[in-house]
């Protein structure tokens, strides 16, 4: 197959599929209840039971305090139609107009924008900042 034709097929095909999926509502972020966030955490860390879970009001993230007090805090967040979870260690935390931005020390999970209202952001910031293992730096943007 001529390279030009292959290129047109690939670019056109990817664009058509992307537009079709977006227009049919396949771009929505997953909404989490507290129970779903709990399940999402245990799906990733089945040996780390939860002491306390703080669900973001927008339902797209939850902060996890494990039962093991010496364990790092955890974070579950919506990732497209699914979820991901990470322990919060050596995080760079930035306050932003719409909440907090966490830069993670993980090439496969570079960062997460948390959409939090004012008091909620301050509460999450305190929880993360006061945990001994969580923070590398904290800045305002």
């Amino acid at each position: 197959m001529p390279l030009e034709l292959l290129l047109i097929l690939v670019v056109g095909g990817v664009a058509a599929i992307a537009v079709l999926l977006h227009l049919t509502g396949r771009s929505d972020l997953r909404l989490l209840s507290a129970d779903q966030a709990r399940q999402a955490w245990l799906r990733q860390f089945p040996d780390s039971p939860i002491a306390q879970l703080t669900l973001a009001e927008d339902g797209h993230a939850a902060l996890i305090q494990p039962e093991d007090g010496s364990a790092p805090l955890g974070l579950v967040w919506s990732f497209g139609a699914d979820t991901v979870a990470r322990c919060l260690e050596n995080v760079e935390m930035k306050t932003a107009r719409r909440g907090l931005y966490l830069r993670l020390a993980d090439f496969s999970a570079p960062g997460v924008q948390l959409h939090l209202n004012g008091s909620e952001a301050a509460h999450w910031q305190r929880l993360i900042a006061h945990h001994p293992a969580a923070l590398a730096t904290a800045t305002e943007v």
Partner: protein, 307 residues
């Protein structure tokens, strides 16, 4: 100059891939079952597929040059009769089984293959989420015996292409189980769904390309269980749709692990060559420890398929 050539079936199949993806999506949308699609996940998979074709065009000369050197060396030439093509296809599928098994059991090879498992979805776009870095695994050496046995390199690559095209259609939840005789011999959507599972039961199973018999022969077959629905993705799921991060994240992780201070040379090498999950201090989980921990939590699963 060697005049023998075969069509590049993976490139020729591109229009069929696109049409089939649209067909699967419409089926799911109309029926309300049979899988899930997500925009960024699908686009990432498709870009990975395009990048894989591009890397083949750019780096393919390395494997081709290697095979042609072997072809010059070998005194054998089996020709290209129909029987030889069929035999080559079957033997190449055996080659695929072992390369795929190495791809899950040797971290250096896993670094290339991991991106294929990095989607939490399982649809026809997942089939195209292919590696950009396969050349760097040096797994082309597993094809060397075929060339040395007298199968022309062009034929070996041709049947390998057919193998990959076959595997496209099995990446779907829209097809349940097929007739028993077919499930017994061939790799099917059901068998391959299990392979993509991150459930402890399904880790390191069903490596087959076309014929599932290899898994049955070598003891890695686990049938999909209705009682344990497949949870797609990685044990430790990635949180990025960036194709560059998808393609290279495990290579970066290997580099970071190998360059930690205070390790012995053996430990550094094991971070590249041991099964995924190896750690010098035992702080991480391998498939074996994940299964053991699962059985500690769910002892009733002991003795069931996959445990």
């Amino acid at each position: 100059m060697d005049p023998l050539s075969f069509p590049d079936v993976t490139q020729l199949a591109v229009p069929i891939f696109i049409a089939a993806i649209l067909g699967e999506f419409l089926w799911i949308a109309l029926k309300g079952r049979g899988g899930r699609y997500e925009t960024r996940d699908a686009v990432t998979s498709l870009i990975m597929g395009a990048g894989s074709v591009a890397s083949g065009i750019v780096l393919g000369f390395i494997a081709w040059g290697f095979f042609m050197v072997l072809w010059e060396i070998t005194p054998l030439d089996l020709g290209t009769s129909i029987g030889v093509i069929v035999l080559c296809f079957v033997l190449d599928d055996l080659r695929y089984y072992w390369v795929h098994r190495f791809g899950h059991r040797i971290r250096w090879v896993w670094a290339s293959h991991v991106n294929h498992h990095s989607s939490q979805h399982y649809n026809l776009t997942t089939a195209l989420r292919q590696t950009w870095t396969g050349t760097f695994t040096f797994m082309m050496v597993v094809r060397a015996p075929l060339v040395l046995l007298g199968f022309h390199p062009a034929l070996v690559l041709f049947v390998g292409g057919i193998n990959l095209v076959y595997q496209f259609w099995i990446h779907t939840e829209a097809i349940g189980k097929l007739p028993r005789w077919f499930e017994a011999v061939m790799n099917t959507p059901s068998h391959h769904r299990a392979h993509h599972g991150r459930n402890p039961r399904y880790l390191d199973c069903n490596y087959a390309g076309v014929f599932i018999i290899w898994d049955k022969i070598f003891g890695t077959f686990v049938p999909e269980q209705d009682s344990d629905p497949v949870d797609y993705g990685l044990v430790y799921n990635i949180a990025t749709f960036n194709p560059l991060r998808v393609a290279f994240h495990e290579w970066v992780a290997i580099y970071r692990d190998m360059t930690q201070p205070g390790l012995s040379l053996k430990q550094r090498l094991l971070y590249a060559l041991a099964p995924p999950g190896y750690s010098h201090d035992g702080s991480r989980d391998t498939s074996e420890t994940i299964k053991a921990k699962h059985l500690a939590r769910q002892p009733q699963d002991s003795g069931t398929p996959g445990f």
